[in-house]
């Protein structure tokens, strides 16, 4: 039986649309997976000496201190990326296969997931180094097993937490707050958790506790799945009770309003777009890397780079997939009497509004001095004036259908590697940096910032021109786009 299952898995993997992408893409995908493995492996070997020699810290104690955030971060990543095993179960239900077999297989399949394996590339070399450095084998083993038990606990927790957004966001906010408290040394949760992880090392047989929890979680997950292995229970599509929304206040946008109303509903009501929204929120904090004084991110031009990203998170993550957001009903749009300009303006307004909101939210960067926030404000102006157009332009060439109801593919869609879009993305970042550099060297940062802002404002003048170009692309690419979207649906 397992042989059949494995056979099905094999086919579903190699025949999936994302795998049957072009060769270039496969190489990129393979390469990025390899990069991850190598960097995990490398850090596993190096981190011990780095911590001990360079920073004069006790390696194990330091790792134990940050381990809690590592484990929680792992949970977050899994929540967004790890696919749940329920997907392909339906067709198996009416075949002569015992339910236990199906459930065991579905659960065990998750054990082999990349999200579990990748940790081994860090922890195994790290543990080996520990033993080589003279740490007692048994203690290291206890510690090592506990961590793996916890990582696998995460695996099965993800199975439960899947689709329970409220629980998930609550957990995330608690840990963000704890992280903040630690950063400002008000309250340090890691003092407590570090001693817990240390205890696994000090008393190896304590590893039994996470292992028992893991077994318990597996059994619970098994029972939970088995109980829900019915079309109207766990396998049912979740239908939410909803209210009609009028959004009449948007009518002030005139003829664009009809699309704007739709777009706002699109963002609010679909998992994929909500993930995008969350991602663009994350971009807000990207600038912290630049302004908290990390060496590699210094330099005057990098400020502009950060400014573009901090204010433009939504612009980039949402904008690059216009019109793919409407891929599920593109034939409808194409057979209705739609003015492309109104359609485009709606997306444009959304991006502008989001950029303005991001810029306001980012006002906490004032803490790092006026230059930091000025970089963000001019970045926003440049985003609105120039990048909004470029992003929409690039999106016109992207023909990857988007499955709105699944949040899993928000990262690393194959469309990210489109030659035309890559070429279009160069001016998004390089041009403002160059312009800033010119101003910076002629007179100083004020001239640099002003030049970028002026460039952004000039870009606004070309809005109509760019929309006309995009409209033309939409028209010439119409049949190809329809065909591509059909493949996905």
């Amino acid at each position: 039986m397992v042989k059949h299952f494995l056979n099905l898995e094999w086919k579903s993997f190699f025949r999936s649309p994302s795998f049957q992408a072009n060769l270039f893409l496969k190489i990129i995908m393979g390469f990025s997976a390899l990069c991850m493995i190598v960097s995990f492996l490398g850090s596993g070997f190096v981190v011990y000496h780095l911590l001990e020699k360079k920073l004069n810290l006790d390696p194990l104690a330091t790792i134990n201190k940050i381990l809690i955030f590592y484990v929680v971060f792992d949970l977050v990543i899994r929540y967004f990326l790890q696919k749940m095993p329920v997907l392909n179960i339906k067709p198996l239900l009416n075949l002569s296969i015992k339910k236990n077999t199906i459930v065991h297989f579905a659960l065990n399949k998750t054990v082999l997931s990349f999200f579990n394996i990748v940790h081994a590339f860090f922890f195994i070399p790290f543990s080996v180094v520990l033993v080589l450095e003279g740490y007692p084998f048994l203690n290291v083993l206890g510690w090592h097993l506990s961590i793996f038990a916890l990582i696998y606990c995460n695996n099965f927790i993800t199975v439960f937490v899947n689709n329970k957004d409220a629980v998930f966001y609550a957990v995330i906010s608690i840990f963000l707050i704890l992280g903040g408290l630690k950063y400002y040394t008000i309250f340090d949760i890691t003092d407590y958790t570090a001693s817990l992880f240390q205890a696994f090392y000090n008393t190896p047989f304590l590893a039994l506790i996470p292992i028992v929890i893991l077994v318990f979680l597996y059994i619970t997950a098994f029972k939970y799945f088995k109980k829900n292995l019915y079309l109207d229970a766990g396998l049912a599509k979740k239908a939410t009770i909803v209210q009609n929304e009028d959004l009449a206040w948007l009518n002030r946008f005139g003829s664009t309003a009809k699309f704007l109303k739709n777009d706002i509903k699109l963002i609010k009501r679909n998992k994929r777009s909500k993930t995008t929204l969350l991602m663009s929120f994350m971009f807000l904090f990207y600038g912290l890397l630049f302004f908290t004084g990390i060496e590699a991110y210094k330099g005057p031009f990098m400020k502009v780079f950060a400014g573009i990203f901090v204010s433009g998170g939504f612009l980039f993550t949402f904008g690059q997939f216009v019109p793919s957001w409407d891929s599920a009903y593109y034939p409808l749009m194409m057979s209705q009497n739609i003015r492309y300009k109104e359609y485009l303006s709606s997306k444009w307004y959304l991006m502008v509004i989001a950029t303005v909101i991001s810029t306001i939210l980012a006002s906490f960067y004032l803490y790092f001095g006026w230059q930091a926030y000025a970089a963000i404000v001019v970045g926003a102006i440049y985003n609105i004036g120039v990048n909004a157009h470029l992003v929409l332009w690039g999106g016109a060439y992207i023909k990857t259908p988007i499955d709105l109801t699944s949040g899993k593919k928000a990262f690393g869609d194959k469309s990210a590697f489109n030659l035309k879009t890559m070429l279009l993305s160069l001016p998004k970042l390089l041009l403002p940096m160059v312009v800033y550099a010119v101003g910076h060297f002629i007179s100083g940062e004020i001239l640099g910032f002003s030049l970028v802002a002026i460039l952004g404002l000039t870009g606004l003048l070309f809005k109509n021109k760019v929309f006309t170009i995009i409209e033309k692309i939409y028209k010439t690419e119409k049949y190809k786009t329809l065909h591509a979207y059909k493949q996905g649906n």
Partner: protein, 231 residues
């Protein structure tokens, strides 16, 4: 109203549709039947300019559909779920289509209430997104949406499939009313010979992309069709 000239569609050297000439006058209820792969949906997709013809063209109201978009204001269609916006409730969807077709809320409400019978209490006020409705109910919403905004040409691909018997009967009355009373040109395709002979004044049989029969419906038509498909 709708004229087809030398139309053909070829995929990788395989011709899936080849219609030399076909004229559909205004106000006709026109039925397209044929087995799977006969080219029914291909023809409708060409009519809506969703795919490009390999040769030839279609004009409606003397507008060549793959050259100008001016046919869109008076043409509407429901082909499949890709004509529905899954994350909207049926009401929101009707209003959206209404806005695209220059109808205000009151106009849409007025039209939609006429179809309360047809909806059978399963569409309006359900507090559900379209994507959470059953296939049959999705189809009901899609068909009614295609009637918003006074279209002159209505295209429905397999409208009877997935509908329950009561709704099938009601849909037949609606389609007849559109063509006979309102002078709307209605094009439908169907696998159900009985329904299509009930509703359509004229029936065209497609086989492997070509027209093999073009019949004006009378009492003998159903028999003739059954005989054709039995062989």
């Amino acid at each position: 109203m709708i004229t087809t000239s030398n139309l053909s569609k070829t995929y990788n050297g395989k011709t899936v549709l080849k219609i030399d000439t076909l004229d559909i006058p205004k106000g006709q209820s026109f039925g397209l039947v044929g087995n799977n792969g006969a080219g029914k949906t291909t023809y409708f997709s060409l009519l809506l300019d969703l795919i490009q013809p390999t040769t030839g063209f279609i004009t409606t109201n003397s507008i060549q559909v793959n050259k100008s978009e001016n046919w869109k204001p008076f043409t509407s269609a429901f082909i499949d779920e890709s004509f529905l916006i899954g994350y909207l409730t049926p009401e929101e969807y009707f209003y959206f289509i209404g806005e695209l077709r220059g109808q205000n809320k009151a106009d849409v409400d007025k039209l939609v209430t006429e179809f309360e019978d047809f909806f059978h209490g399963e569409i309006l006020g359900q507090k559900k997104y379209l994507r959470d409705l059953s296939k049959g109910n999705q189809k009901k919403a899609g068909i009614v949406a295609a009637l918003i905004g006074h279209p002159e040409v209505v295209i429905l691909d397999e409208p009877f499939a997935n509908l329950d018997p009561t709704t099938q009967i009601r849909l037949k009355a609606i389609v007849k009313d559109l063509a006979e009373k309102q002078g709307i040109t209605v094009l439908i395709s169907s696998h159900d010979l009985l329904h299509v002979t009930d509703v359509c004044e004229r029936i065209v049989v497609l086989e492997k992309g070509e027209i093999v029969k073009d019949l004006i419906t009378n009492e003998a038509t159903l028999k003739e069709l059954e005989l054709h498909f039995a062989n």
